[in-house]
């Protein structure tokens, strides 16, 4: 019981199960179907891939508001290089991922080495990159090549590919964060940056790589989204940064750093996706969705604080 109270991943899993059982009883014809669940997972796959990177950053005590713009930017670069420049698909994907990494490199360098506040830096990057995405893709680039679309639109065991990519990325990063010394250092940095620095961890270098990895994951998400839609939308990913930060905090990350598990990022997005899905099934209007999701976030953070306080007294 104490573990359940202390560990967000357990309490969130239990909450997801309870919501799932409630939805199954309320909507027995539509909710517990393979079609609905594969759609639900597909809808949250892009957010989850970005959330993995965000969890990594939040663990080390920083965050990135430019990820939504990078999603639009990388999809735009891939489409632009394929359609306008006529480059082959693999090269276009490499160009898109490299462009995303450059954004991460700029963010990481200016934050870690020049000491710019992460919020100011990534807010500025968010605007700049969105502007470049608009320049690159204009009113959106349609008619992307069949094999590019096949990256996301293919299915494995009846489930669309982004779900599998998401699971692969979550599993890989969960392994890396748990088992490798390099990634464990992010917890030390988030726990106490000064102590980490004194113990020989190259904090600035680690932060820089954290931003590069996050931007790379946002770049992957952008390519998958463009491939799924068959269109590179310059408006894609608007508001995604806040959705992802919300999901990651729900999943157990702390804004002050040092806490969080990659699986928590997945659980956070699953929970938000589940609530959205239930609201669609219940035909709850969009006005209420925002209000309900906001209230859930406040309730989750508040209950977490209350439970942790109680368990520390127990």
């Amino acid at each position: 019981m104490r573990l359940l109270l202390q560990e967000r991943t357990y309490s969130l899993t239990l909450t997801i199960l309870l919501v799932g059982i409630g939805a199954t009883i309320t909507f027995p014809q539509t909710f517990p179907t393979f079609g609905n669940w594969s759609q639900l997972l597909l809808n949250l796959s892009i957010d989850t891939i970005v959330a993995v990177g965000m969890m990594l950053l939040l663990v080390s005590g920083v965050f990135d508001l430019s990820v939504g713009s990078v999603v639009a930017f990388s999809g735009g670069v891939a489409a632009y290089t394929m359609i306008t420049l006529g480059m082959p698909m693999p090269l276009a994907i490499i160009a898109a991922l490299a462009s995303a990494c450059l954004v991460g490199l700029a963010n990481g360098y200016l934050i870690a080495y020049q000491g710019i506040n992460p919020m100011i830096q990534t807010l500025a990057t968010m605007g700049i990159v969105r502007g470049v995405a608009l320049l690159v893709s204009g009113a959106g680039i349609q008619n992307l090549p069949y094999w590019f679309n096949a990256i996301s639109q293919s299915r494995l065991l009846g489930i669309q590919m982004p779900v599998w990519y998401m699971l692969l990325i979550v599993a890989t990063f969960a392994f890396l964060m748990n088992r490798t010394i390099f990634f464990r250092r992010y917890y030390y940095i988030g726990g106490n940056e000064r102590a980490a620095d004194l113990s020989g961890i190259r904090v600035r270098n680690m932060k820089l790589w954290g931003y590069v990895l996050t931007a790379l994951l946002a770049g992957v998400a952008g390519i998958l989204l463009a491939s799924r839609l068959g269109t590179a939308l310059p408006t894609a990913g608007r508001g995604l940064e806040l959705r992802v930060i919300t999901a990651v905090i729900l999943g157990g990350a702390s804004l002050s750093g040092g806490h969080g598990k990659i699986i928590g990022a997945l659980l956070g997005t699953v929970f938000m996706g589940l609530i959205s899905n239930v609201m669609v099934l219940a035909r709850v209007s969009g006005y209420w969705q925002e209000i309900i999701l906001g209230l859930i976030l406040i309730a989750a953070v508040w209950s977490d604080k209350a439970l942790q306080k109680r368990s520390s007294f127990a």
């Binding site: 939308l233 408006t235 035909r283």
Partner: protein, 333 residues
């Protein structure tokens, strides 16, 4: 290693590639006879930016009124912000619940594949506002954004006598708005005396539109005209022009006819509004769905078997031209 190889091969063999795109056509793919009685029917409208006042007051109000009059259930879904991927996600989830009919705001060509999915699932699907011609939607009702741009361009040429500096703004990157921008610029091509000083993104935000306008008025004291393309462009442009004391002197054309737009026309700040007949395309869009479900007008012995869609394929509901001369007709209070 051997096991891993076998597993990988098995996984690969169960991989399905997406179907190649077939040629575009409006087809009737076995619309289901799901509606047994009117009370069981549910018509769902899916838009984006669901809380945008223009949508709430016109589209959604007309759709809800239609539902009440017909005695059928109506639901309105969509993300709160302008978020096309979220709109697509919601449409996908709604398809799984098999509504009687789907009324979809044609926000972007990217929603084409999901419209095709709804059609393939046998759900009558009507697109409104902007068309998605690449999709297999059963019908479209709305306006041509290129025409909106042309209408504004022609009015601006008339107001300026074919000479002067102008700027225009809207939400950059949206397909329908970019079509509007093209319509505007195509009109100006025939008038070399019109100088376009810039295209600006006001992000559908009144404050942003006002900020851009005041900056433009400072940078170009001889700016003669401004054109707005989203619902909040007009109020923002109007506010900044009024604050600069140049109301009436700087010519303004914009879209939509919310109360604040109409008031600005009455005050002589905005010179022309290009208004869409939003109530018409949502009301009749819903009615088209109803007529498809109920086979209101039969054109053959069995329209479904014959693959006939018994509603018009495409309807242009046209535009309203609102100026100081006729604005009082549109102010209801």
């Amino acid at each position: 290693m051997k096991k891993l190889l076998i597993l990988s091969l098995l996984a690969l063999s169960s991989c399905e590639l997406p179907p190649r795109q077939s040629t575009t056509s409006t087809t009737l793919n076995s619309i289901t006879d799901s509606a047994t009685s009117e009370t069981e029917e549910e018509y769902v409208m899916v838009t984006t930016a669901v809380s945008m006042p223009m949508y709430v007051h016109h589209d959604q109000a007309a759709f809800l009124r239609w539902g009440r009059e017909k005695g059928v259930k109506t639901s309105i879904l969509g993300p709160a912000e302008w978020d096309v991927p979220s709109q697509i996600n919601i449409i996908e989830e709604v398809i799984g619940t098999r509504p009687t009919g789907l009324l979809i705001n044609g926000t972007d060509p990217a929603i084409g594949p999901v419209i095709n999915k709804a059609v393939a699932a046998g759900i009558p699907t009507v697109v409104y506002d902007s068309d998605i011609p690449s999709s297999k939607r059963h019908a479209f009702l709305g306006t041509d954004w290129y025409e909106i741009g042309q209408m504004q361009g022609k009015e601006m040429v008339r107001l300026l006598g074919g000479k002067g500096k102008i700027a225009y703004m809207g939400i950059l990157g949206l397909t329908n708005m970019e079509a509007g921008f093209r319509g505007l610029l195509d009109v100006f091509k025939a008038y070399p005396g019109i100088e376009v000083v810039g295209k600006f993104d006001d992000k559908a935000n009144v404050e942003e539109a006002a900020r851009i306008t005041s900056d433009l008025l400072s940078a170009h004291p001889d700016l003669a005209g401004l054109c707005g393309f989203d619902s909040n462009s007009g109020p923002g442009i109007g506010l900044a022009v009024k604050e600069s004391g140049r109301a009436g002197k700087v010519k303004i054309t914009t879209v939509d006819w919310e109360p604040e737009h109409l008031q600005l026309v009455r005050e002589g700040v905005i010179h022309m509004l290009a208004g869409q007949k939003r109530e018409l395309f949502t009301w009749y869009g819903a009615q088209f769905l109803y007529d498809m479900v109920h086979q209101t007008n039969k054109l053959s012995g069995n329209d479904r078997r014959a693959g006939i869609i018994n509603v018009p394929n495409s309807i242009n509901t046209g535009l309203l031209r609102i100026t100081k001369e006729n604005v009082n007709e549109f102010i209801t209070k």
